[in-house]
């Protein structure tokens, strides 16, 4: 007989905590798309243009950060059995401060206002510190952490490093503080944000979620055991070289070699994930799998593009190289995977909370919708094709902005509007069913008066 542990739903936050993060994220994406539509070509002039910085942070903080923080607060009790302390307070503060900080940071980038950037940075620092400390407690108190939890710890450390470097870079960029080597610092901030925080969280949760949700074989033990640590070590060594010996010319080659190893690690991860997905028994792909596959192909493409850029200066020195890489990693990899996961997490949480309520009340005559009924498959697939079209046209716009920029922005807005409506329909369905599951309803036998 196996020793089994029952998960208590009481350990998980109320459903309103993750939902507010998930429903806010598409709003930031829509705001970013509308600005792209209105202001057009300015975005691709340079990665340093105020609008480019503003829109990039709307996506990284407002969309990716929002969903990743909300998902971690929800997932830790479920996959690790370790609830986040004071989760309602932590969730509320993180959500509010992240929302406020992102809006103000964007405003300050575009207007160049020094007082606004100080308020924005304060909100973001407090919000992230609250989140990192609370999630850190939940992660570090586990005595036998799984490989997923070990990877999450590294992702949280990477988030702290990313935020610290981002604050310093923002102070330097706005002229408030005098930061030397701003370009190197910004590169390090970008590298740790994408390859550290986002990448390590993606890899570590994949170890658990890909086999579970996509019914694939498990990742090989050596990948689970060594990949996240190797990626983190490579990034750390790269950071120390990049910032510690910034004046030395000799660091260029070792720094590129180190980053190359990290990139190869991600290439391996994308190929392994695609291979596992290919081995799944079910041949009909659901929408989450489509998003994940797209994300993994984009990851492989970005890795090869970066390697080509290093090997051939005609590619690496091309004016649109770094913007194309940024689009591939942020829109192609991170947004694809996050978007796909939302189609699993939101219906699953809705179903599970309702089922829990139904079992507590023994209200078996009121039917809880199946997980697949919360979001229509047709509408979710339509959104996937919009997302794909937006990605391809944004990549094309990086090269020929005059032709593709506005169609790309329009498709991006449409994709995220569809995502928002799909998620909202799931939440509406949850609330409609919840209202029926009351102790006074016919055939409900329990005296339980609690609510989710």
């Amino acid at each position: 007989m196996l020793n089994t542990t029952s998960l208590s739903l009481d350990q998980a936050p109320p459903i309103s905590v993750p939902f507010r993060f998930f429903l806010t994220a598409p709003l930031f994406a829509i705001a970013a798309g509308i600005q792209l539509l209105v202001f057009g070509e300015e975005i691709f002039i340079s990665r340093w243009s105020p609008l480019t910085l503003g829109i990039t942070h709307l996506i990284t903080l407002g969309v990716l950060g929002m969903v990743m923080c909300g998902a971690m607060l929800q997932m830790l009790p479920v996959i690790a059995g370790s609830p986040v302390p004071r989760v309602v307070l932590v969730g509320t503060l993180t959500h509010l401060l992240l929302t406020l900080g992102t809006i103000l940071l964007h405003f300050s980038f575009v207007t160049g206002s020094a007082p606004v950037i100080l308020i924005a940075l304060t909100a973001l620092i407090v919000g992230f510190v609250v989140f990192i400390v609370a999630v850190g407690i939940a992660l570090w108190r586990l005595t036998e952490p799984s490989t997923t939890i070990q990877g999450m710890k590294l992702a949280i450390v990477s988030l702290a490093v990313t935020v610290a470097m981002g604050i310093a870079a923002a102070l330097g960029f706005s002229g408030i503080g005098r930061i030397e080597y701003l370009a190197s610092l910004t590169d390090a901030h970008l590298g740790w944000g994408i390859l550290g925080w986002i990448g390590l969280l993606l890899v570590s949760v994949s170890f658990q979620l890909v086999p579970m949700f996509q019914v694939t074989p498990e990742y090989p033990v050596w990948v689970r055991r060594h990949l996240t640590y190797s990626l983190f070590t490579g990034l750390l060594a790269w950071l120390l070289l990049k910032l510690g010996f910034v004046d030395s010319e000799w660091i260029d080659l070792p720094a590129i070699l180190l980053l190359g190893l990290v990139v190869l690690g991600y290439l391996l991860f994308s190929l392994k994930t695609l291979q596992l997905q290919h081995q799944r028994k079910r041949r009909i792909p659901d929408v989450t799998l489509l998003f994940w596959r797209l994300g993994m192909y984009a990851l492989g493409f970005c890795a090869l593009l970066w390697i080509s850029g290093v090997l051939f200066s005609s590619i690496g020195d091309a004016p649109h190289f770094s913007i194309l890489l940024g689009i591939g990693l942020i829109q192609g990899v991170a947004l694809s995977v996050v978007n796909g996961m939302l189609y699993k997490i939101v219906p699953f949480l809705s179903w599970f909370h309702l089922q829990n309520r139904q079992m507590a009340l023994m209200c078996m005559t009121i039917s809880v919708p199946h997980m697949k009924e919360f979001v229509s498959d047709r509408s979710a697939k339509r959104q996937f094709y919009l997302h794909f079209a937006a990605l391809v046209s944004t990549a094309a716009a990086a090269v020929v902005p005059g032709w593709f920029l506005r169609p790309a922005a329009f498709l991006f807005v449409l994709s995220n509007l569809t995502l928002l409506l799909n998620l909202a329909s799931a939440v509406r369905r949850y609330h409609t069913t919840l209202k029926l599951l009351v102790p006074s309803a016919p055939a409900c036998t329990s005296e339980d008066n609690g609510t989710d």
Binding site: L2, S8, K281, R282, M359
Partner: protein, 83 residues
């Protein structure tokens, strides 16, 4: 009487949905043997709330076997645990 349910190849949360649906058809003396590739830890709080008991063991043809019976149904419990 034993009811058998193989959910090894199903995506979440179909295993949970099918297991709970099977339990609604229970009669006295019935128990359910669920074959699963993972340990369904999220199922347990639902079983607890619904008044069911369970036992988990390594399966012969699947990674895990979960035996479920209604709390207080001695016949079902004895039959389930004797297998």
């Amino acid at each position: 009487m034993e009811h058998r349910l193989d959910v090894s190849d199903l995506e979440p949360c179909e295993p949970l949905e099918r297991t709970l649906a099977a339990l609604t058809r229970f009669e006295a003396g019935d128990y359910l043997r669920v074959l699963h590739r993972r340990e369904p830890r999220l199922l347990y709080p639902l079983l607890e709330k619904g008044g069911f008991s369970w036992s988990v063991r390594s399966g012969e043809t699947s990674q895990f076997e979960i035996l479920i019976w209604r709390q207080g149904d001695q016949v079902a419990e004895t039959a389930a645990l004797s297998r």
